[in-house]
């Protein structure tokens, strides 16, 4: 009696998944119809629609259609399931870096190392879509960056300058707070936004120890025992316990946070440069009121930007129409293809192709990012692109830290423990 409900649910669930699996068995193409699977972010969908339209117009052999999937962890599981059941459309877009490593590229994807566009890709990109020297993905659109959004009129009003060290940054936040604004906006209502003070700090970690990523992958160094890396955890403690953040930071959402920023109620917000898309959509008249700078570290000389590399476009090894798939990828990385995408949704950072420039009409905050890319050694890919080791719980550990439940030391130790599971799951050596 106790289990009748359980049994029923188990049966119903299993039945439903059988239907789901057989129901989407038409992933492959027939008669020149090919499917491109992308995540359902609205900007991405608009850009992809225009890309596909432009590609279909540019040749007569293949007709591409778009299929969307959920993003985030739900998307991760969908990608893994479709790959392991050999039900993946002929071309799909998915994260590069750590998440890419978790889908067993060598086993599941087509090696694209010999494609003509490979020589045009910026040097920094290929390692994030490679396994043992073989390249499996092409960059999908522009890069993204992690750093600090700031309110320009506030800076002008208070006579502040873009800070090059952490201490200057805190001084600016204090000044804004004294002027009755939120010094630094935090938005734990959307949990993932809690991570930027740590993740975007990686350029500063790598500036001190260029081998950090490698040593981290080999379990030789962690956030609790590397003094530079540990600083990021102290920073979170400092800003939340020091009262620099907005009062309702535990329940504030990303949307509210961007409203605080655009309206000038808050002076700083650590987030992705891609936040520009939302600012543009909801605060169109404030686009030029916001600027973006790299998360500063200790040394003004090594100031630089932590960069999130674009998704990869991949072809599963089970693809039925490989010629169509490779032709599509070639178009997607061409100037023409990127221009088509930019028409739907503007890029949020420079492209990963050496011969394609950002469009003229991007907002100043995004165009300014190019300065970092043009300066030697002023950009570093985020840790998740140079090491496959990334724990799933960083966001919640930082919220525990930020709400005062634990201290910085404990938080760093817990995160080091959290990544163990991922490393073991990937079968890395030394864990």
């Amino acid at each position: 009696m106790l289990f009748s409900r359980r049994t029923f649910l188990a049966g119903a669930g299993a039945g439903a998944s059988v239907v789901a699996i057989t129901g989407c068995g038409s992933g492959g193409g027939s008669g020149g119809e090919v499917t491109f699977l992308v995540d359902n972010d609205p900007n991405n969908v608009v850009a992809t629609e225009l890309l596909i339209e432009a590609f279909n117009d540019s040749q007569a052999d293949y007709v591409f259609t778009m299929e969307t999937r959920p993003g985030g962890t739900e998307g991760d599981n969908l990608i893994k399931t479709r790959l392991s059941t050999q039900d993946m459309p002929d071309v799909f877009s998915y994260n590069s870096g750590s998440l890419f490593q978790a889908i067993r590229p060598a086993q599941n994807l087509l090696d694209l190392s010999d494609q003509p566009w490979v020589s045009r890709v910026a040097e920094v990109y290929p390692p994030s879509v490679s396994v043992e020297g073989a390249i499996y993905g092409a960059p999908h659109g522009g890069s993204n960056s992690g750093g600090i959004w700031y309110h320009k009129p506030t800076y002008e009003e208070l006579g502040l300058e873009v800070p090059l060290t952490w201490d200057d940054f805190i001084a600016n936040a204090e000044a804004a707070k004294s002027a009755g604004k939120h010094g630094i906006i935090q938005s734990y209502g959307d949990t993932y936004t809690s991570q930027f003070l740590v993740l975007a700090d990686f350029h500063n970690v790598a500036a001190v120890n260029p081998d950090f990523a490698e040593q981290y992958t080999a379990n030789e160094v962690g956030f609790a025992d590397d003094p530079t890396a540990f600083k990021a955890f102290e920073h979170v403690e400092q800003v939340t316990q020091g009262g620099l953040v907005n009062e309702d930071y535990v329940s504030t959402t990303l949307e509210q946070a961007l409203a605080y920023l655009a309206g000038g109620e808050g002076a700083h917000y650590p987030f992705f440069s891609s936040g520009m898309a939302e600012i543009k959509a909801t605060h169109a008249d404030k686009v030029e009121d916001v600027g973006f700078f790299a998360l500063p570290g200790d040394d003004p000389e090594t100031n630089g930007l932590t960069v999130w590399l674009p998704n990869g476009i991949y072809i599963p090894s089970t693809a039925e129409n490989q010629d169509a798939a490779t032709a599509f990828i070639e178009f997607a990385v061409s100037a023409e293809g990127l221009a088509a995408m930019a028409e739907g949704a503007q890029p949020t950072g420079p492209y990963m192709l050496t011969d394609v420039e950002l469009p003229e009409d991007v907002p100043t905050a995004i165009a300014d990012l190019q300065t970092y890319f043009d300066t030697d050694g002023a950009t570093t890919p985020a840790l998740e692109f140079s090491s496959p080791v990334k724990g799933p719980n960083l966001e919640n550990i930082l919220i525990e830290l930020g709400t005062g439940s634990i201290d910085a030391r404990t938080a760093a130790e817990r995160y080091d423990q959290d990544v163990e599971k991922q490393a073991q799951q990937l079968g890395l050596e030394g864990w």
């Binding site: 991760d76 893994k80 734990y188 009062e247 525990e400």
Partner: protein, 310 residues
């Protein structure tokens, strides 16, 4: 069929033993073993196989592409990580708190709504109404209402000059805030069960008690309470199992947060699955299974015994 019908009356007069023997052979003839096959097959494929597969996969590191046998490592990890072990305590707190409150409030409302009061029908519907609403809907609604500054609850409290607590944003309070909503939503069902139990108590007992000069408290204590015991047991069993497995409301309201403050086993299992730790996630399911068993089986046994003694 017709032969069987004819044989039956003849069977009635035969000895007890012979009748039983005949009956079983008749059953075997009428319902051969392969009758069970369709149901058995469904049970095997959709219940038995996944159950045993999950016991097996809880002992592996599983990536959907391949698996590696690692013994009890997943269980060691599950029971050693502060976030995971914390969820175990939260689950117990949540289950016992909601279950206890549903018993007490359910009984109180049951008594109230079976007594002679005005607008009885309306009040009964109002108490039961939350049970009919989708849990996710309730979760989203209360998340909005419990917002620390803009929420309906705290704005109302502010009018009378009280500064309301940060219901879901305070790590110490979040689990209890969710439990409160769970009680609000679940107490209707407990009330209905109690009402059925109370109405079933024969009126004669109350009349006899009245004749003997029993006051209302002593009537409740010595007549109502013992006689609605089956209802109490039903409410405890249902709400305790529900509480131990609860997921939807917590997920809709806090996602286990802030941090891990309101994580329960079910939400942790879901998070491990999200992160792609399929083996660890399955091990969590086995732990949940064990916890429910360890609590509910003895409880069930005890309650059955108590009922028989009565």
């Amino acid at each position: 069929m017709s032969t069987a019908a004819l044989e039956r009356p003849a069977g009635e007069v035969r000895s007890r033993q012979g009748r039983a023997g005949r009956r079983s052979s008749y059953l075997a003839k009428a319902y051969p073993l392969w009758y069970y096959l369709p149901a058995g097959l469904l049970f095997l494929v959709f219940f038995a196989v996944p159950t045993f597969a999950s016991f097996f996969f809880s002992l592996t590191r599983w990536s959907l592409f391949d698996w590696e046998f690692i013994g009890l490592e997943n269980f060691r990890q599950f029971l050693s990580e502060p976030q995971l072990i914390g969820s175990l305590w939260n689950t117990l707190i949540y289950a016992f708190l909601t279950s206890g409150a549903k018993v007490v409030l359910g009984m109180a409302l049951g008594l109230l709504l079976t007594s002679q009061i005005r607008a009885q029908g309306l009040l009964r519907s109002m108490v039961f109404f939350p049970v009919l609403v989708s849990t996710i809907g309730v979760g989203v609604m209360f998340t909005t209402m419990m917002h620390p500054t803009d929420g309906l609850i705290n704005s109302t409290l502010a009018i009378v000059g009280i500064e309301g607590p940060k219901w879901l944003a305070n790590p110490q309070l979040a689990l209890f805030s969710v439990a409160l909503v769970d009680i609000w939503k679940g107490v209707g069902l407990a009330t209905v069960i109690y009402m059925a139990g109370i109405v079933a108590v024969p009126q004669e007992y109350y009349e006899a008690a009245k004749v003997d000069g029993s006051g209302s408290w002593s009537t409740f204590r010595h007549i109502t309470l013992p006689l609605v015991r089956p209802a109490t047991f039903t409410v405890i069993t249902l709400s305790l199992i529900g509480g131990l497995r609860s997921f939807d409301l917590i997920w809709a309201m806090t996602g286990g947060g802030p941090g891990f403050a309101s994580d329960v086993i079910a939400s942790v299992i879901y998070k491990q699955y999200q992160a792609g730790f399929y083996g660890l996630s399955t091990a969590g399911n086995v732990v949940l299974f064990a916890v429910v068993m360890v609590i509910v089986l003895p409880l069930n046994h005890f309650m059955r015994k108590a009922e028989v003694e009565q």
